[in-house]
Amino acid sequence: MSAQMSPLLSVGAVTVQFDGVTAISDVSFDVNQGELLGLIGPNGAGKTTMLRVITGVVRQTSGSVRLEGRSLEGLPTHLRIRRGLALSQQIVRPFRDMSVIDNVALAAGADKTVSPVKALLHTGRERELKIGRDLLSRLGIERHADESPQIQPMGILKRLELARALALAPKLLLLDEPLAGLNSKEARLLADTITEINRSGTTVVMIEHNLGEVLRICHRLVVLDNGEKIAEGEPEAVMNNATVRAAYLGSGAAAATQATAGDQHAEA
């Protein structure tokens, strides 16, 4: 990655405190155009908080977040999304009263939902339905388009969540543990899909605990521990870093058992 290329997202010296407790301390990193960046770290490292700072759900105590060089300071979540962010949430939250395709079409209609007046004056959604169907077929779940999300298994819902985020045509896609709750086969398939999405031009930042898949697909990693950035760089180099190893192995026994328990749970 060349230094001249201006980063798509730039996180500068962000610190977050809740009631005096520091959740993130002076963290900076960049996300470059076209990159697939993994944001990793043990539980409680501050990854999800960082994602929330980027989307504006949580306000940083100090520091800056810039998208394409423009500060996102003071912008509410929905305006940040309209600047080109999209978020796929860790706990899938489809609208259960709508069919799968309606869920995606609603996101695809961003230009019609930009203001209440516009929303009131438009009824048709052929274009949005088409975008929706295309996305569903790209993610391999088009056969569930007209069904209710209520009856879908986790694997389908994870893909629906992703489709809905993609329907916003984002410049930067933020994924919060997209592989959690999937068995290893499903996780592998979805990781492949994410790679494909990234290859077709969408920059991706991904929080993920499944290190195997992270190491397999990510271009670069940022590692957080206890709210601090402890490493950054190419996956292999990062994983050989002594501090990173200490962070993971320090709580290693616990993390390892937890990971196994999680896998078993997913497969059960």
Partner: protein, 283 residues
């Protein structure tokens, strides 16, 4: 005929009022336990204007405007609190409205306002006018349901945090729902004042708010037809129940409970269940 005309007018006003709450609570999921305050704002605005000599037809848009404006203010409160907190806040707004009007001598205080000047319409024409307004509100509701706004509303009703991360300005949509719903309630209030020619603070209190919410929920929250039918029926039920006299509120309360206990989707769901017993889901 006059009795039937009077009942039909009452029905039409109730339908209009219930549909106005349905926009806020049914479509957009913002529960309100103080909606009668806006009926009151409309009624008082129209009543005072009519007494000041403003022609009836002109009092209607003004009543809508005042009620809608106050609705937006309450809507701002809805941005700050959610769900059960919102329910109690709106309930508080209702009590506050009644409490304030009671103390305003200019608004007739505790005594209310009577002898509101006549619209000049005959009772029959006024009834038809009220029915036309209710029908217009039903059509508007049906349209909102079908357009993009309706889709955003139902998404907000289900999960507003997710709507926000879809890049949608949730506060503005909520405020729009409040503005639309409270303006329509204001219209219903203006018709109410004209119909009864007498208004007093107690007519717009907690009980009225509960009554209208019951109409919406019993009809099937969000269902335009269901709410229309249930508002029409429930509004004249007490008159029909005269025959059971002293038991009528007991029956009313009992029906409300049984409906929720055995058909939580309201009448709309009940009808669907009877005619399509094999289909899942109520929507």
């Amino acid at each position: 005929m006059e009795y039937e005309i009077s009942l039909a007018t009452t029905m039409a006003i109730s339908v209009l009022f219930a549909l106005s709450l349905n926009l806020i609570t049914g479509f957009c999921g913002q529960i309100s336990l103080g909606h009668a305050a806006f009926l009151g704002v409309g009624a008082y605005t129209a009543g005072m204007l009519a007494k000041a000599g403003v022609p009836f037809l002109l009092t209607l848009p003004l009543a809508m405007l005042v009620a809608g404006a106050l609705g937006v203010i309450v809507g701002f409160a809805s941005l700050r609190v959610r769900a059960d907190f919102l329910a109690i806040t709106t309930m508080g707004v209702g009590f506050l409205f009644v409490g304030i009007v009671r103390q305003q001598d200019a608004l007739g205080g505790e005594m209310g306002i009577s002898a509101i000047p006549d619209s000049g319409m005959s009772k029959l024409v006024f009834m038809l006018f009220a029915v036309a307004m209710a029908a217009a509100a039903a059509l508007l509701s049906a349209y909102v349901r079908r357009c993009w706004m309706g889709r955003v509303f139902s998404a907000i009703a289900e999960d507003e945090d997710t709507v926000r991360v879809m890049g949608i300005d949730v506060p503005r949509f909520k405020l729009t729902a409040f503005a639309l719903g409270t303006a329509l309630a204001g219209l219903a209030g203006a018709l109410y004042a004209q119909h009864l020619k007498f208004i007093a603070p107690d007519s717009f209190g907690f009980i009225e708010s509960i009554t209208v919410l019951s109409m919406v929920v019993v009809g099937g929250i969000g269902s335009v037809i269901g709410v229309t039918v249930s508002a029409a029926v429930l509004s004249v039920l007490p008159s029909w129940f005269q025959v059971i006299g002293t038991y009528k509120l007991l029956v009313y309360g009992g029906l409300l409970f049984l409906m929720m206990r055995f058909s939580p989707g309201g009448m709309a769901a009940l009808v669907k269940r009877i005619f399509h017993p094999d289909r899942w889901g109520a929507k």
